[in-house]
């Protein structure tokens, strides 16, 4: 599985197995290792090898879909038969846009030979390098690296493939009374230093002992990239896809073209950005376009797949999910917020008096139409006083509006960080957001939870 030819060959074999139907096939394959650790011991090491094929058959507007991970000829033929049988029994799908015509996928970065050859010993060794750099605190988290292949082929001539690598180290340094967090992600494992990340987490943890409560209210705040990326992701998947826009569920519904955010805030989705986790095409085989979602505070567009694009008389921007999740609508997986000019210390100065948030926990949407999001802070929440980060705070319950937060920015950090977005459920599909730390006038705290630590 060293290049994408295997995935493409498999997708093309699956198409041939459909025996004369109009069909396409998506192949997702992975080889990954997860050295998960807890209390400074590698405790749940998981190696995964899998490849799956999803065959979609279209017969006179009726569509059937079937998947399998049996990739011998018999397994592919059986999947094709099941897809065809569904198509025969399904009603006509009036929204089916047809198959993607042949198209060339753009060349993107995102594959690193060295990362692709990491094995279980390498992954365990990198986990242990983080553990051994932590000092007296326990370390919790993981080191993972893997290779993911995508291939999409159709009976109408589409033939695209990509091989991606990714590596992430996630580090929570903690004791009963303190905890700190850091992470790093790249498609080049060699650019990640697990020991440095663990050290950052431990340094942060040491400052959280003796946390204080905070009265509810709307505070000025600095959000580290980890926290800002998570809020942005929840806002993005609920509001920045075309289906939510068309159905009136998005915060942007009826508001595209309006100035809804701070002039310093711009937001793009760019699968070709080599600083992120590059993607050449989506799960329909449509090349990724760079989408300017917000420019200088003005909402410009959302992301589209072929179905929503056909509905609105537009073209897909290359943001379809894999079937059957496609019914959720298109999703931006390569979000990017350009940085500003401030260092982190300067962001605290811009806040003056407020709070400093490292990381969030159990985030969820309260009201997608308003961009209202709840969750907790954790593993590094501090008070900001007189422009300086001072005493540690307990974990805070926030229920805050992302649009209000992004409309009232005080500044953006100059450094942009790639923050991992995947929790690695299901098939591996590495994605993340490129974001800076931000300072805002509007982060609403509604309660106080437990203190830092285990």
């Amino acid at each position: 599985m060293s290049d994408s030819s295997r995935a493409l060959e498999l997708a093309e074999r699956a198409c041939r197995a459909t025996e004369g139907d109009e069909a396409d096939a998506l192949v997702q394959a992975q080889r990954s290792g997860f050295a998960r650790f807890a209390d400074s011991v590698v405790h749940q090491p998981t190696l995964i090898v899998d490849e799956s094929v999803t065959v979609r058959v279209a017969r006179e507007g009726r569509v059937g879909c079937a998947s399998t991970n049996r990739t011998d000829d018999e397994g592919l033929a059986e999947a094709a038969r099941r897809a065809a049988a569904i198509a025969d029994r399904a009603p006509t799908d009036p929204g089916f846009p047809g198959l993607q015509p042949p198209i060339e996928a753009p060349a993107v970065d995102g594959f690193d030979e060295e990362t692709s050859t990491e094995g279980p010993s390498d992954q365990a060794e990198r986990a242990w390098s983080a553990i051994e750099a932590t000092g007296d605190l326990g370390l919790y988290g993981y080191y993972t690296s893997g290779v993911t292949e995508l291939g999409v082929a159709s009976t109408t001539g589409l033939s695209v493939s990509q091989t991606m690598t990714d590596a992430t180290v996630l580090a929570l340094a903690a004791s009963e009374s303190c905890s700190g967090y850091a992470e790093a992600t790249s498609w080049k494992a060699g650019e990640i230093d697990p020991a440095r990340v663990a050290h950052e987490a431990a340094e942060k943890a040491a400052r959280t002992t003796g946390a204080h409560d905070l009265e509810p209210g709307t505070y000025r705040a600095v959000l580290e990239p980890y926290a800002f990326a998570e809020l942005l992701w929840y806002f993005a998947y609920s509001s920045l896809g075309a289906l939510a826009l068309l159905e009136g569920r998005s915060f942007l519904s009826g508001r595209v073209g309006e100035k809804l955010f701070h002039p310093a805030f711009s937001l793009y989705d760019d699968g070709g950005d080599p600083r992120g986790l590059p993607k050449a095409f989506d799960f329909e085989g449509v090349p990724k376009q760079r989408v300017a979602i917000v420019e200088s505070g003005v909402t410009n567009d959302v992301v589209w797949d072929r179905r929503t694009a056909a509905q609105a008389g537009r073209e897909s921007t290359g943001h379809a999910l894999a079937p059957p999740a496609q019914s959720f609508g298109p999703v931006p997986f390569n979000l990017s917020v350009p940085g500003g000019t401030a260092g982190v210390d300067e962001l605290a100065e811009l806040v003056g008096d407020g709070i400093y948030v490292t990381r969030l926990h159990y985030v969820n949407l309260v009201d997608p139409r308003e961009g209202l999001i709840t969750g907790m802070t954790r593993d590094g929440t501090f008070r900001i006083e007189g422009g300086r980060v001072t005493e540690p705070l307990a974990n805070l319950r926030f229920t805050t509006s992302f649009p209000a937060l992004a409309a009232s920015l005080l500044g953006l950090g100059r450094d942009v960080t790639l923050v991992n977005g995947s929790d690695f459920y299901g098939d591996r599909y590495p994605f993340g957001s490129l974001v800076p730390a931000v300072a805002t006038e509007a982060f609403t705290v509604v309660g106080t939870g437990s203190g830092p630590g285990l």
């Binding site: 290792g33 997860f34 998960r36 807890a38 011991v41 590698v42 405790h43 749940q44 998981t46 190696l47 090898v49 899998d50 879909c65 079937a66 998947s67 991970n69 049996r70 099941r82 897809a83 569904i86 029994r89 399904a90 009603p91 799908d93 279980p120 010993s121 365990a124 242990w128 326990g138 919790y140 993972t144 903690a174 709307t218 159905e247 009136g248 569920r249 519904s253 009826g254 079937p323 059957p324 019914s327 159990y362 309260v366 009201d367 209202l372 709840t374 969750g375 907790m376 954790r378 974990n395 319950r397 229920t399 929790d423 459920y425 299901g426 591996r428 509604v446 309660g447 939870g449 437990s450």
Partner: protein, 480 residues
């Protein structure tokens, strides 16, 4: 499949493991969704593979292979042993498993109609009829969905356990979105987030009678568009059984998972406010609070013959009369806790994931009386129903839930409809304010399929039963 598990276990022992177990799984799934009167998606899936877990000098290793073949089994075993070897020399505390009898047996879900084999046309017709029942002038999106799965799972361990199980599940649900002038409201049946599932045949889906509930669901969504917002105040709340199921899940189920208590999930799902020494003494809630973990409940998604360590199913108290009496555990965490035996809550999401401590079926036992009885004793309060949003902190203390629907309660009567309701609390304080539970006639069980935990992530299928319940002095109406 059992032979392949044996092959994998033998290969792991040959590679240096002192303990090994293997699970071979063959899973078929079928998911159908309709939207606005059209079939939105039909997905038919199959997945198979084998997962091998080993201990080498007290260090865990896990690897899997999608091939149900001798070579797949052997290669997975060798890779698992290699991964364990990489950490074995640096593991300061070798893993010890609590003793368990080497079980040999079979379990199969009882059912009448295999949901995978029900003709597709029949499923589509049922869903389109349900979808049509949701039509309403203010409703812009109608959705109905059904899911079905059949899974065969074989397990063998180096201690001699040899188990075969077949699980059959299905479920369904309705959801509508009503919109006007930029406002959006949602209603669901029989529960939010995709409906409810059970370990049962297709007769379970038929029994939900989706189309009979559609008109009410649509009408309530439309009415919510014109309802007043839930006020901000501290008040008495009566919570319906469906929302109580999630309340039990988040604020009792997860905190009593012993792996969280020992910190294994600290970096992701979080830990727990509970400590091992709290067992038998910590007051979790009022004396009305009785929570039972039961992996034998008929229809429960957490029902099995044996867990993924081969430990047999059982029913045991978690909270009795408000006192913490039990944890959800594995053989490893039971060993850390001390005492005889233990385990029985280990479950893995398919063949490609390592088993974790998971909820099975966790129930809030009923009290007496009806929902109306609970309401009748409230002078001023809020009735809350059907989950809309959920969040709880990493120690499972501070939570905030949103519900799809709420009603004002005034002088013992259900009053005007309220929208955008939320409530928040701190777990032991909240459960301490429990002052009434409805009886077994109003106790209902729902099954959810999206309980997330672990890195890499795993989704567990669990069921919860609960009656409507009443709590005093609860903060509601939290907005930014």
């Amino acid at each position: 499949m059992r032979e392949l598990c044996g092959t994998a276990v033998d290969a792991a022992l040959a590679a240096g493991a002192e303990y090994a177990d293997a699970r071979a799984i063959l899973r078929r799934t079928q998911d159908i969704a309709t939207k606005n009167g059209e079939v939105e998606s039909i997905a038919d899936g199959e997945s198979e593979g084998i997962g091998v877990r080993v201990l080498v000098r007290g260090a865990w290793g896990f690897a899997c292979d999608r091939r149900l073949s001798n070579s797949g089994a052997k290669e997975a075993a060798a890779r698992a042993a290699e991964f364990a070897q990489a950490s074995a020399s640096r593991t300061p505390r070798p893993v010890v498993l609590a003793p368990a009898r080497a079980e040999q047996g079979e379990y199969r879900t009882p059912f009448q109609r295999d949901p995978i084999d029900v003709p597709l046309e029949e499923k589509i017709e049922l869903l389109l009829r349900a979808d049509a029942s949701l039509r309403h002038a203010d409703v812009t999106i109608t959705q109905a969905a059904a899911r079905a799965s059949r899974e065969q799972r074989a397990f063998r361990s180096s201690e001699g356990a040899d188990v075969f199980q077949e699980f059959v599940e299905c479920g369904a649900g309705l959801e509508v979105l009503a919109t006007t002038d930029g406002a959006v409201q949602v209603r669901s049946y029989p529960s939010a987030h995709g409906g409810s599932s059970a370990q049962a045949g297709w007769e379970y889906v038929e029994g939900l009678a989706l189309d009979e509930h559609g008109p009410r669901v649509a009408e309530e969504a439309a009415a919510l568009l014109r309802a007043d917002p839930c006020p901000q105040k501290v008040t008495t709340v009566v919570i319906d059984s469906e929302q109580m199921q999630l309340q039990v899940h988040e604020s009792v189920g997860h905190p009593t998972e012993l792996d969280r208590i020992y910190g294994t999930e600290a970096a992701y799902a979080g830990t727990s406010f509970l400590k091992p020494e709290d067992l038998g003494s910590l007051r979790y809630g009022s004396e009305l609070m009785n929570i039972t973990a039961d992996s034998t409940t008929p229809l429960g998604l957490g029902t099995f013959g044996y867990d993924d360590e081969g430990v047999p199913a059982r029913r045991e108290p978690i909270v009795s009369a408000g006192i913490l009496e039990g944890f959800l555990d594995s053989r490893e965490t039971a060993s850390l806790l001390g005492g005889e035996g233990g385990g029985g809550s280990m479950r893995a999401d398919g063949w490609s994931r390592m088993p974790l401590v998971r909820m099975t079926n966790l129930h809030l036992e009923p009290g007496e009386g009806t929902l109306d009885d609970l309401i009748a004793d409230v002078d001023d309060g809020i009735l809350l129903g059907t989950n809309k949003s959920w969040s709880i902190d990493d120690k499972r203390l501070n939570f905030q839930f949103g519900t799809q629907v709420a009603w004002e309660i005034t002088k013992g009567k259900r009053g005007r409809l309220l929208r955008d309701a939320t409530y928040m609390g701190v777990t032991p304080e909240f459960w301490g304010s429990l002052d009434a539970l409805a009886g077994k006639e109003e106790w209902t069980m729902g099954g959810l399929t999206n309980c997330g935990k672990g890195q890499p992530g795993q989704s567990a299928h669990v069921s919860h039963g609960a009656p409507p319940a009443r709590f005093r002095q609860v903060r509601v109406g939290i907005r930014s």
